[in-house]
Structure formats: C-alpha cells, structure tokens
Amino acid sequence: MGILAVPGIDDKFFNLTLFLQNLTNALANGAVYALMALTVVMIYKTTGHLNFAQGEMAMFSTFIVYVLVIEQGFNVWAAIVLVVLGSMVVGAGIERILIQPLERRSVLAPVILTLGLFFILNGGAATIWGTQPHSPIPAPFPGKLDDKVDIITNRVPHFFVTYKAIGVWITLVVLVLLLNLLLKRTKLGLAYRAVAANAESSLIVGIPVKRMLMLGWALAAGIGAIAGAVIAQYRNVLDFNFMAAVLLFGFAAACVGGFDSILGAVVGGLLVGVVETFTPALFTFVGSELSLVMVLLVILIVLYFRPQGLFGSKRVERV
C-alpha cells in the first residue's frame, strides 16, 4: 500500500507519478553531484586550484572500502570511517608533498599535477582491481529491491523512493551540517575561512597557512571517500572509471553554484541533476546523451549573468 492515494489527473501530456519519480531521481542524482561539488569547493576555497583527481581519489577510497568490506568482512560503516580517516591523511600528504613545492612555480603547475594524479590513480586502480565492474558493492544503506518507501501505488507507474536515494540525501545533509559546524563554530574553521579570505593577512595574525591548505585537501579527500561509497551503491557500479562522469557533473555543479560556496555546491548540484534528468524527458529531441550539453548550456546562461556563480563571492584581485 502507498502512503497517498491520488485521484487521476493525468492526461497524455502529464503523468503525475512519472513526474514525481523523475524528480526524485533528479534530486538524488543532484545530491550525488553536490557531494562531489563540495569536495571541489573545499580545495578551491583556500588554494584556488581545481583538483582534477578528486573523483579518482574518491574512486580509490571506494575500492579500499570494497576490499575491507567484501574481502575482509569489515562492517561497512566501520570501513568507511577508517577509509575516510586514511583518505584525509593521504589528501593532506598529497598537498604537502606534491602540491606545495609547485605552488611557487606557477598557477598552472599544481593543476597539471592533479591531472597527472588522475591518470596515476585511474590506471593504478585498473591495474590492481582490473577493468571489470565489481560486485557485490558495499552497501552503506539498505539496498535490496524492496528497500523503498512506497508513496503512490494506485497509479502507473508507482511512485516510490528507495532507501539508497534517501541515503544520498542524508549523507549530503549531514556532511553540510558538519562542515558548517566546523567552519562557523570552531577556531580551526575560522582560521580556514580567514585563509580563504586573505592568505597574507592570515600569516600576519599567526595562522599556519600551509596547514590550512592541507586541511582543505584533507576535508576534500574525506568527503570524497564517503561520497564514493554512497555513490557506488546508489549508481550500482564500482569500477576504475565510475567517478569520472560524476566529477564532470560535480565540476558543473560547483561552476553553477560558485567555486567557493558550500551552499552553491548543494544548489548547483541539485540544479544540474534536475536539468540532466528533465531536459530529455521534456524535449524528446534531446536524447539522454545530450543531457550533458544541456547542463553546459545552463552553466553558460548562469555565468553570463553571474560570472562568480550563483552563490560565489566576487574576487577582487589584490596587488
């Protein structure tokens, strides 16, 4: 039995339950993009770099979760916590050992380095775990066929929400709340935001700026590790390439929302998810392969009117 019984208002142009089902998928996909956009934002805020290896770092972390859970028999959440902590250490280490020495050379060098990381992690995972999709996939949330909330069942198609989708939303909400708590309520968070606002003045007041850059990478790697595990279950795929497309949409989301805004990452992610899902549904001449083009169109429109993104802050170059 569904929760709601809805009288028939459908006609050949509009099917309510189909619409609601599409919307749910759109918002769940959108939350997935928002998670990756968050990781992009955490690094961009302090360092001003885009990390192209973000998705592959998350992919690698997810494979470690896979090894711990499926091969070693760990509890899935225990494994995620371990991998998140490990990923944070590795993320901070990458910043310290690989990025920092390049920082003085040029703006482009660290970005090129993250491209290199992308290929190393991507190829490394393919070498270690092969190129075939892996299953079973570790399941942070209940993911069997009937693990869903039926909402409308007296219409065709049925409208339901899977626990996996709810899990993605919960993950996003909890992470955003925790990040807000960290950034707005702690001295560490204040120092992180100070470095994002003015790195030179941060040095003057005694903030170890380089450690804050490492913190940005640590947070991004940690969020990516959770996101990877949740995304693998939600999309039901775990292979060496599974994060590449997700990160592309995550970049799109961060671009729309503003590269330095947490709120922007969330709104941008959801917006990208809605555009991606609904343009093929609304305009039949747009096949699903073209939905990325529609997303790019939205980016173009948003950036035309707000070059800093919907919630990004305008940066004035300081001399």
């Binding site: 994002a196 606002a197 030179e200 941060s202 007041v205 700026v209």
Partner: protein, 237 residues
C-alpha cells in the same frame, strides 16, 4: 630605554631584484618611529622583511630574539603586529570574526572577549557594524578594523604600512589621532611607513628617510621637519 627592534644590514628583494641594500635602524620601546620615502624606495619591502614575509639577509632583532629565518606566522606570537598596505582585513568575514582571527595566537578566551569589546569602545563604528562583512565597510572603516585586528594579539610593536593610503584627509587625521592614543594610553611601540610626511611627523618621535634601499637621513621628528631636503621632497614646500 630599551631597544624594541634593531635592524642591522638588512638586505631583501624579489627574485633577482634587490630592493634593500643594507638598512640599519632601531626602534626604542614606547617610541613612534616613521620611515619616509618616495615610491619604490623600499618602504614596504622594509616592513615585509622585518615580518619575514620575504627572504631576507642581515639581522632583525626584537627584544634580543633574532627573527631572520623564522616563519612569518611566528611573528604574531613574538608580539609583533602588522597592518599591511591597502586592505589588511578579511573581506568575507564579519567585523567580529576579523577581531577574533586577530587573536588567533592567544588562548585566553575571556580576555579576548574583553579586548574585542575594548576595540568597540575605541572604534565605535566597528561596534555598530560588528555583524557586517568587513568587505562592505568603507575604506576608512576597513583601515580602523585592520588596526583593531592588529591590536588583538596584544602586540608590543605595531608595524603600519602606509595607513593613510587612499583615505580622505579628515579620516587620515582621526586615524593618526588613534595611533597617537594607542601609543600613549596602551604603550604600544609604533613603526609607521608613510608617504604623507606631514601627518606622520606630527605624532612621531623620530624618523628615517629611505632612498633606493638605503637609509639616507635620520633624526628627531622636529629636526627632520626643518631639514631642507625633507621639506622639498616630502612636505610639499
């Protein structure tokens, strides 16, 4: 009188370009010392070298501690505060958060709270705007915030880099009145880099003149005010 800061044979620059060619100067405790110079003479570089924000050679001695070779983020803990040229504030933080960040090296939370409230009595405009983002303040208010923020680490030595830059004459006057009060009432030693020699010499005890990376003239503030070269170059006579 004890020496607060003693700079000897200071050399610094940017990459292959050497700006400072052996600067010597000292600042005594509770003094107000001004460094005058034209554009490109090395005023800002002197301050940045003292703060270890650029690679330096020579010696910067603060109360017996050698600073050359230390990391720049260690300066605040040594009792040295610095208001950089232009906007030394954190535009995306509120006024109150700017002051909290200023106290980053301190652990005494209750006293930090008191000092923030004290800043609001010193600079009432900041108190009115405590919840506002610093980036939305006017130029003069931002400069006041930068000074109040610098005072939050309870410095013994405050370095000010062209605090009058881009401000209206009335605002400049009131800002320098505050500097004078900080020196007299709170006992803070001031080292001020300025192009606006008139207003700076008004509150200074002594002054240095820097040209092409070297100190070319030094003396009491009144003495320099009467010096013909200084009058022509910096006082507009």
């Amino acid at each position: 009188m004890t020496t607060m800061l003693k700079v000897s044979n200071l050399e610094a620059g940017y990459g292959p370009i050497q700006v400072l060619r052996g600067v010597d100067l000292y600042v005594d405790e509770a003094e107000v010392v001004v460094l005058l110079g034209a554009n490109g003479a090395g005023k800002t570089t002197t301050i940045r070298a003292i703060c270890q924000m650029i690679d330096t050679k020579g010696s910067v001695d603060m109360c017996g501690v050698e600073l050359v070779g230390m990391r720049p983020e260690k300066m605040a803990g040594k009792g040295m505060a610095h208001v950089p040229q232009g906007r030394g504030t954190f535009p995306e933080l509120t006024v109150e958060e700017n002051l909290q960040v200023g106290a980053y090296v301190r652990k005494d939370r209750a006293a930090i709270r008191e000092d923030i409230d004290h800043s609001y009595t010193l600079f009432p405009r900041l108190g009115e705007r405590r919840g506002q983002l610093a980036g939305s303040l006017s130029g003069g208010e931002q400069q006041m915030l930068a000074v109040a923020r610098a005072m939050m680490c309870r410095p013994r030595l405050l370095l000010l880099d062209e605090p009058s830059l881009g401000l209206a004459p009335l605002v400049i006057q009131s800002l320098f009145d505050r500097f004078s009060a900080l020196n007299k009432d709170e006992g803070v030693t001031l080292f001020i880099v300025e192009q606006n020699a008139n207003v700076a010499l008004d509150i200074a005890d002594r002054a240095y003149v820097i040209e092409a990376g070297r100190i070319v003239l030094t003396g009491g503030a009144d003495e320099l005010r009467e010096n013909d070269a200084v009058r022509r170059a910096y006082l507009g006579f």
